[in-house]
């Protein structure tokens, strides 16, 4: 293995299709129109010296090192800013160019510390490389003024800024603007005083910097350097793998020193991220080796007992014996399991296979239950497939972008940056959200054309109003509908949606959005050449989550915004493998590939393949499992990689259900909240310790590769296999590639997927089969995936949620996430990301705060019909009057103590986004928080006792 540095072509690739041919140093080269001479030269192995150019950002032409001569041309143009042209004859090396380059380098080096041997960039410094390339042998200048004593900024926990080493090439500034879109950096001052400055000459941590790492990546010297490299030295080999955070699924180079990750560098060839990253994927990987990792299996008889470390064999045999005992005592259907979107495809496939074939029932569910299960349902009904329709790059062709209930710059930051790039190019933006997300007006050079600031829970009324305007103002794409959709269903929908009760003027009282705004937004979306909808959990986590997904699908079909680049319906998946865990058959009613368990043909296929009798009845969903536990008909649970005791709603109910079970088996890397209720703990492996694949929000199957040995000795799929064998159902895989081969053999949309293909292509988007050998970036281009190939319109009446505001609970609480933390926080809370977000806060509008005498930072009690918790207040007009908002990254916050058991009608996805609450100023934590602190402390003591023997 080696570090295998990625080639830097100096400038971005041209997207032109026409080519020109020129001659560089006597060699013929053909390149697309618009390509720089620098890039064309690099493509045939001629490296022109450069410092201010890198292929992730547009050329700048400032360093004057990449000068060339062109036959018949004047002077020495910069090759980075000079495009290729037919017949050019370019010289990149001759004595005159060499002399100029040496002169330029001499000036740079005259104001640069000559500490190469002890510099953190030694071995990976472009300035050092260029000195060598131009043959610099002496520096004749002895400047009276230098920047050598400039003070370092160490404020960012992950990287250092040493201005004494800065050559003011502006690569960092341009990366922050072009790649990330934050514009946190600038060049302050003029001439000799010019310097890179975060914000208004502030430390990085006090600036708008979001710590995405783009500037560090772009820096050609040690000016911006990862602290992990400063501490440990340069990595010696790199392995391509996929981030385990959000649903963007960024490709990374894990740059290693032995088995130690030195840094995670976004992979330039990654098709989901194109070399970009966010603070989580780029820097927050330290949790994988955190001291809280549990690496020995443990068992105990009761949750009041101390844990006892045991061998793998004893733990597995004990777990299997308990599960079998429960089945004997309570019945075959009294046990089940939960897979996780944080696990690989192969792992989730194996867990559901164990449950269906080994447990003999379909009691398997996944955490997608509580996030995007309505997406699966709604899009399957209307389009015939439970997935988004586009790839991420499609957004670069969108003319109007509608973002509904999503916060891409926080939740899906790398895609958020791509979307911002398109918006800066001029695409129009409609934001549908109760809260003012950054895209509305806080992102530089981005401003929403319409912010439909609706009341939480009124999504369906709003989507119907948009549909009403489109139909009644005759903005539908009749040609698309008649060719591609079920026309009878369209006509029925048209009649339904044209009813005056759906008119914006009628829904205004419900949604709180002025009718004129809705009409304008509807016209904008419907009249776009390419209109694209992106949505998130603000759509799904409602009692009408599935209805809203269907409403979105209706709107896209009615306007012909499907089946080509630049359009589509795009669910932004929360966790890294939400799409994959659903694809792999993690839902209780579906086999892999979204085929119902009662379908005779599919049932037979899996019975034959798995050599086991399989149930044709749907199993229990997660909330049903809790209900069944409380009536003693569900007593054993195997949970892999999921933390239901923190993430699920009405948490007191969940805890009661977990306490009622006789055997809870948790497989995780930490003693998470669920493990505090467990009887068997099987240590899991982080994404760095195993092989497998993740499938991101654009259906892209990407490789996860082991970069270090599993700390506990086994990869997660091996643990599931051991449990299955102990249960008496034989599994004998020797590598996850064999599991993927089995998946491909049983799932038509995966038929062409293999590890060989993923390795060859880097990633592949399903459907991948004989009809689409290299995968499918855009779906439904010819026909929809339904049996008759036609898109189905469905009726979507608005039904008010059960959760009503009353004088006792006058505010609506809605929840969301923040950039620096991830989901339940088990990973990011164990990293320096806490520097940005140390606690969950309650956002409250100034009017509501004033009514209650609440000041910023005050402790406030938040009481709902389900429970009460206490958080500190953050007064902001980002939320509207009557609405409060919080994140849920810290267990002690108890955000889910107050959420209710209301859920989506079709999928039981919890209504996290709507809880009626009252907020009052308090002086102490809630009773639940005090009880939690006592229980959690007791559980950690029981763990300590176990670890100490």
């Amino acid at each position: 293995m080696s570090i295998n540095k990625e080639q830097d072509f100096g400038t971005p690739a041209s997207t032109a299709t026409a080519n020109v041919t020129l001659e560089i140093d006597g060699f013929k080269v053909t390149a697309p129109v618009g390509t720089s001479i620098m890039r064309a030269a690099a493509s045939i192995g001629i490296d022109i010296p450069k410092l201010c150019a890198t292929d992730s950002i547009e050329p700048f032409g400032s360093c004057r090192l990449c000068l060339v001569q062109i036959e018949g041309g004047r002077g020495m143009p910069a090759s980075c800013t000079t495009p290729v042209a037919e017949g050019l004859k370019v010289t990149t090396q001759n004595p005159r160019l060499a002399e100029v380059r040496r002169g330029v380098m001499e000036l740079y080096i005259s104001d640069h510390p000559l500490d190469c041997l002890t510099c953190s960039a030694n071995g990976d410094c472009e300035l050092q490389d260029m000195s060598g390339a131009v043959g610099l042998r002496e520096v004749r200048y002895h400047p009276v003024a230098t920047h050598l004593n400039a003070v370092k900024d160490e404020s960012n926990p992950y990287f250092s800024f040493d201005p004494s080493k800065c050559i003011v090439c502006s690569r960092c500034v341009r990366a922050c603007e072009e790649t990330q879109g934050t514009f946190a950096l600038t060049i302050d001052g003029r001439g000799f005083d010019s310097k890179v400055a975060p914000s208004q000459n502030q430390p990085f941590m006090d600036s708008e910097c979001v710590s995405c790492g783009a500037c560090v990546q772009a820096c050609p010297t040690a000016t911006l350097m990862e602290k992990s490299v400063i501490d440990n030295g340069q990595p010696e080999h790199a392995i391509i793998t996929t981030c385990a955070y959000c649903g963007v699924g960024c490709s990374f180079r894990a740059e290693m020193k032995g088995e130690q990750v030195i840094r995670m560098v976004p992979n330039k060839d990654g098709k989901a991220n194109h070399g970009h990253s966010c603070v989580k994927g780029r820097f927050a990987f330290g949790y994988a080796t955190h001291k809280d990792r549990i690496t020995k299996p443990m068992i105990r008889a009761s949750i009041k007992d101390a844990w006892k470390e045991v061998s793998w064999e004893e733990a597995i045999n004990h777990a299997a014996a308990e599960l079998k005992r429960i089945q004997t005592q309570y019945g075959k259907d009294a046990i089940g399991g939960i897979t996780s979107s944080r696990c690989t495809n192969e792992e989730t496939y194996l867990v559901q296979k164990l449950i269906r074939a080994g447990f003999g029932n379909n009691n398997v569910d996944t955490c997608a239950r509580v996030c995007h299960s309505p997406t699966g349902y709604g899009l399957k009904q209307t389009f015939g497939e439970s997935s988004g329709t586009q790839d991420f790059d499609s957004v670069m062709e969108a003319d109007v972008i509608m973002v509904i209930g999503a916060n891409p710059t926080d939740g899906h930051p790398v895609f958020g940056s791509q979307m911002k790039k398109r918006l800066r190019q001029g695409a129009k933006l409609i934001v549908v959200d109760p809260r003012e997300i950054d895209l509305v007006k806080k992102s530089p050079h981005v401003k929403a054309d319409h912010h439909l600031k609706l009341r939480p829970s009124t999504n369906v009324a709003l989507i119907n109003a948009l549909g009403h305007v489109i139909v009644t103002e005759k903005l539908t794409d009749e040609a698309f509908v008649s060719a591609r959709c079920d026309v009878a269903s369209f006509n029925k929908w048209k009649t339904f949606i044209a009813d005056p009760r759906h008119a914006p003027e009628a829904t205004e009282a419900v949604t709180g959005v002025p009718a004129a705004d809705i009409r304008a937004a509807a016209r904008l979306y419907a009249s776009a050449n390419n209109g694209a909808i992106y949505y998130g959990l603000g759509v799904t986590e409602h009692s009408q989550g599935s209805t809203m997904v269907i409403g979105i699908a209706n709107l896209a079909m009615a306007t012909g915004n499907l089946g080509r680049i630049g359009v589509g319906v795009n669910p932004l998946r929360g966790q890294n493998n939400v799409q994959g865990s659903c694809d792999m058959g993690s839902f209780p009613h579906e086999f892999p590939g979204y085929r119902h368990v009662s379908d005779p043909e599919t049932h037979q296929l899996f019975e034959n393949a798995w050599q086991a009798p399989l149930s044709m009845e749907p199993g229990l969903r997660i909330p049903n499992m809790f209900e069944a536990a409380l009536d003693s008909s569900f007593m054993g649970l195997y949970v892999e990689g999921e933390d239901i005791a923190q993430s699920d709603p009405d948490i007191k109910h969940v805890h009661a259900a977990l306490r009622a079970m006789e055997c809870v088996i948790v497989q995780d890397i930490f003693l998470n909240e669920t493990a505090k209720f467990a009887h068997v703990f099987l240590p899991g492996s982080s994404f760095l310790e195993k092989d497998g694949t993740f499938t991101n929000a654009e259906r892209r199957i990407s490789p996860v590769r082991k970069v270090m040995r599993p700390l506990a000795g086994y990869q997660d799929w091996e643990v599931t296999q051991m449990l299955s064998n102990a249960m008496g159902y034989a599994m004998n895989y020797s590598h996850p590639s064999e599991i993927m081969a089995e998946i491909a053999g049983l799932t038509p949309s995966f038929a062409g997927v293999s590890y060989e293909k993923i390795d060859a292509l880097g990633s592949v988007q399903w459907p991948c089969n004989d009809e689409a050998l290299e995968g499918t970036p855009i779906m439904h281009t010819q026909e929809f995936m339904r049996d008759n190939g036609k898109g189905l319109f469905m009726l979507t009446d608005y039904v008010a949620t059960h959760e009503r505001i009353t004088p006792m609970f006058p505010l609506i609480l809605t929840t969301g996430r923040i950039l620096s933390q991830y989901n339940v926080g088990a990973q990011t809370r164990r990293t320096a990301n806490n520097a940005w977000h140390q606690e969950d806060r309650l956002e409250i509008h100034p009017h509501d705060a004033e009514d209650r005498g609440v000041n910023n930072d005050d402790w406030v009690g938040i009481k709902s019909r389900a429970g009460e918790t206490v958080l500190r207040a953050l007064i902001t007009d980002r939320v509207q009057p009557g609405v409060v908002y919080t994140t849920f990254h810290f267990p002690e916050s108890g955000a889910n103590v107050i959420t209710t058991d209301n859920s989506d009608w079709a999928t039981n996805c919890p209504e996290y986004k709507v809880t009626a609450v009252q907020v009052t100023k308090v002086s102490q934590s809630s009773q639940w928080q005090q009880d939690y602190e006592a229980f959690s402390g007791q559980q950690l003591e029981l763990l300590e006792q176990g670890l100490n023997g």
Partner: protein
Amino acid sequence: MKTERLIKMANDISDFFNAEPDKEIAAEGVKSHIMRAWEPRMRKAIIAYCQESGDGLSDLAKAAVAKITG
């Protein structure tokens, strides 16, 4: 399974299909959804409850459960 919970679930499903003007089609939709998504012990419980009194269930939910029992 708490009966109240099942009643709420059945009514919520019915609320969606209630948009369908043809109530026979709507009831078939509710029935199909319950058949495809509910675990047998849940179906058994709602059938038993419906046969016992059905109080609190919407008319559409009752019609759908009646279709399940045939």
